[in-house]
Symmetry: C2
Subunit: 378 residues, 2 copies
């Protein structure tokens, strides 16, 4: 007998395959038309099934954020994997282990000490493929643009080391997440482009090949107006989208593929609230979307349709649902189910070991048509 | 060869057994001396090994926050388990499954519709043990004190149903987490006590037995000045403590048993920061302790000792460490390890599938002496 949303244990992570496919196709088409390779960042989905859908029609390169993901996707048959968090020497043995299995696991650094350690590690016959990280304005990792201090020195250490390939330059335009207009995002995208293209040109001017020029972020991949000089993009959250992406303007309100299924566990008319069994662990304590809409709390109710109702507070396993209007308790009896849209899909999904997959184009998304696994942890 | 902190993958969850034992003993002694049963809330530890240590010298009753925990601890031999999140009818089959195996899995409600559903479910020969939840001022679940609307009606439905036992009344004084003085906590503890003792008296006055009077919360269990009428307490986070508990005054700064081990992955002197490989997933986005010390960010560095250095921002796998003073980069070379104290131990721990156990009384806590498993998810 087929399972529906009413049969699942709660809380549970629900993925709408119809929306997922549309989101994947939109980005895939856009980058293909722009002549830019798609290297999806699978830190959001953490799922081989979704990874395979994401690279359809592309060459299969992907991005990951942990070594656990690298091992899991290698196991799933992926061959060109970029581990996009600054590498440290103690992690090189895990990298070589996968590379010896024929996986081109690429790493990144912005530090000459690490570059030298990689060069040293390659002396025993190991090989490495290394990106140099550029800070295009987001202020996370990377050599800050426009100064790019030490860029050519690091490139030279890597290029001159036998067994080491300078893969290219990369950046993540994380500051695009704080824009709220398409023009604002496009301006960040242009900053991003200039930073990595300039870095690549500096390296090439020193006679060193810099084949890949890699940008990132869903908003900039979606709304960039010029990819000139960029060879690949690494968007991640576009596969699911979330309230934060919606409020930024990176996606439309119908593009949110992920939700948390919860049960109503209590009625509190004296404070116009219901409690649900999805709290801090099931929703995460990410409040990113509150930057744009303070009342979003820890997520809003999408099913039954009531996006003015939000989870305004969380304890570990309790979510407090509230609204400016009187709560329609009759529509939300104890034990009934609601679905909540997450603020930040990547963080919310990390509490779950699987997706229950529904398809809104089949039956409004009531029947569970599949489950996809996830790789969590490190 | 024995493993040390330098050999572990990062990020990793580190538990200091010496501090854990002291924390467990302090609470155990205190409640034994007060003549109150200890029903530790294992939603924090989620570990059979720690659960067994927690109930040493007590009768073995425990509290859990998910059905996954209930199954896991039942498997581990625990026989009196209270699932302390409002039950809904769809979860009763999972409850009866464990009860048929001889586990006294008790549930809780504050709703007469649920009480009637439990009474109905017991008609087929099933048995249930049910608490009634009281809101002692925290404003989460429970019948609000002092009105306690419908209390005796719910008690009567449960008491009159064959196969159903009214276990007693319970509350969680979550508002104790927002105090910052011992006197403030003691005042909340007295509110908590009055609420549940009054509720029990009301039920007994109606001729219905109310054997268990169950209070909760680490701060109130630690700092209550009068347990009269309370039969058991359900503290949870006391086993580890965290920055939030320290700032409340619920524990001392040397009582924090849990930390996250991370690697330094980048130096950014132009903004006086280092990056570490513990971000939003490894630390959680819980900012509870910022209520008391805004600069605590997502946790402070305890090893090397530098509690003025905090993780001021997080992306998914990056933590931004900053200080008011110049960062001593020489002490924090790329690849070196730091340990971060969490704001809220329960939420941070949930990202990990195991504890790496060290013992500060043996060798300063450098050698891994054990690993304990954890049960996550639902």
């Amino acid at each position: 007998m087929s399972q529906t949303l009413d049969d699942l244990p709660t809380p549970a992570l629900i993925l709408d395959r119809a929306i997922l496919r549309r989101n994947l196709k939109r980005m895939s088409d856009r980058l293909r038309q722009a002549g830019v390779s798609l290297r999806p960042h699978l830190k959001t989905a953490k799922s081989v099934q979704i990874g395979r859908m994401a690279v359809e029609g592309h060459d299969g390169r992907i991005t990951v954020s942990t070594l656990a993901e690298a091992r899991y996707f290698a196991q799933g048959g992926f061959k060109d994997i970029f581990y996009a968090v600054g590498i440290v020497p103690t992690k090189l043995p895990a990298v070589t282990e996968l590379r010896r299995q024929g996986v081109n696991l690429r790493v990144v650094t912005d530090n000459i000490v690490v570059a030298r350690a990689i060069a040293d590690a390659a002396r025993n016959g190991e090989t490495f493929s290394v990106f140099i990280e550029i800070d295009s304005g987001g202020g996370r990792a990377g050599l800050p643009y426009p100064d790019l201090p030490g860029l050519v020195d690091i490139a030279r250490v890597l290029h001159n080391a036998p067994g080491v390939e300078l893969a290219g330059v990369m950046t993540h335009a994380g500051h695009s997440y704080h824009q709220s207009t398409i023009d604002g995002i496009a301006a960040v995208a242009e900053q991003e482009r200039r930073a990595i293209v300039t870095a690549a040109e500096k390296i090439r001017a020193a006679g060193i090949p810099c084949p890949i020029v890699s940008g990132g972020s869903t908003p900039t991949a979606m709304h960039s107006r010029d990819f000139t000089g960029i060879t690949e993009m690494r968007p991640g959250v576009y596969c699911f989208n979330d309230l934060d992406q919606e409020y930024i303007g990176s996606c439309a309100s119908g593009d949110l593929a992920l939700s948390v299924l919860a049960s109503v566990i209590g009625h509190y008319p004296h404070r116009n609230q219901v409690l649900i069994d999805a709290g801090a662990l099931a929703l995460s304590k990410d409040i990113s979307a509150q930057e744009f809409r303070p009342k979003v709390g820890y997520g809003t109710i999408v099913d039954p349709p009531a996006r003015d109702m939000a989870v305004v507070a969380c304890s570990q396993e309790h979510g407090f649902v509230q609204s400016d209007d009187p709560i329609p308790y009759g529509n939300l009896p104890i034990g009934s189910r609601v679905r909540i849209l997450p603020n930040h899909a990547c963080i919310t999904a990390a509490a779950y070991d699987r997706y229950y997959v529904v398809d809104s184009e089949l039956d409004g998304g009531r029947t569970v048509v599949d489950t996809y696994d996830r790789i969590n942890g490190w």
